[in-house]
Amino acid sequence: MTCSINPGQRRWVFSCWVSALLVALLSVGTALWFRFGHLHGPLAYPVAIVPALPILWVLVETWRYVATEKDEFLRMLLVQCLLGGTGGTLATTTVWGWLEAFRLAPHLAPTMVYAIFWLFVGVSFPVVYARYR
């Protein structure tokens, strides 16, 4: 199976990579600003959520790609991968939550959930694609 991608897929993959880069840069930038800029008061709230904005953007781009992809087979493949990501994330965070409740695991920051989701989406890709090879 060749891996040629259509313009919609290209746009979505591009937005995922740009978003990952922006999250990394904005997280470091915001952390430094809080540490050395001594941010407090009303300004601290919008600044704190700045690293989340690229994440929200890529969620919108994912929705847009799924909604506009005309190739039903490719759309189904991505939806299966996203379901794999969702299932893996729910399973992991649920098990982790119970371990954490009994102090058998360290606290898992909610900001890690998004990274866990994409980790499972990434793991799902070869599994899903292998089924239709």
Partner: protein, 72 residues
């Protein structure tokens, strides 16, 4: 669901890529449909039927129906 896509395609000397281009889908989609790993939606099945100039039931066949017919 079984189908005669490969035969119909071969009769016209079309590659999977040629058929994909005519259907405006990816070659992976054509391959998945042809090998019976993916059942197309009704709109895509109608598009295939129009393209080959045949009714849908001449392109796709229901395996369960075939099994029950051969058993009786």
């Amino acid at each position: 669901m079984k189908n005669r896509l490969k035969v119909l395609r071969a009769e016209r000397d079309w590659s999977q890529g040629d058929l994909a281009q005519r259907l405006e889908v990816s070659r992976q989609s054509v391959n998945a449909i042809e090998t019976g790993k993916f059942d197309p939606s009704l709109p895509l099945a109608f598009k295939l039927a129009r393209l080959f100039g045949k009714p849908i039931e001449e392109i796709f066949s229901d395996e369960e129906q075939q099994c029950s017919e051969s058993a009786s």
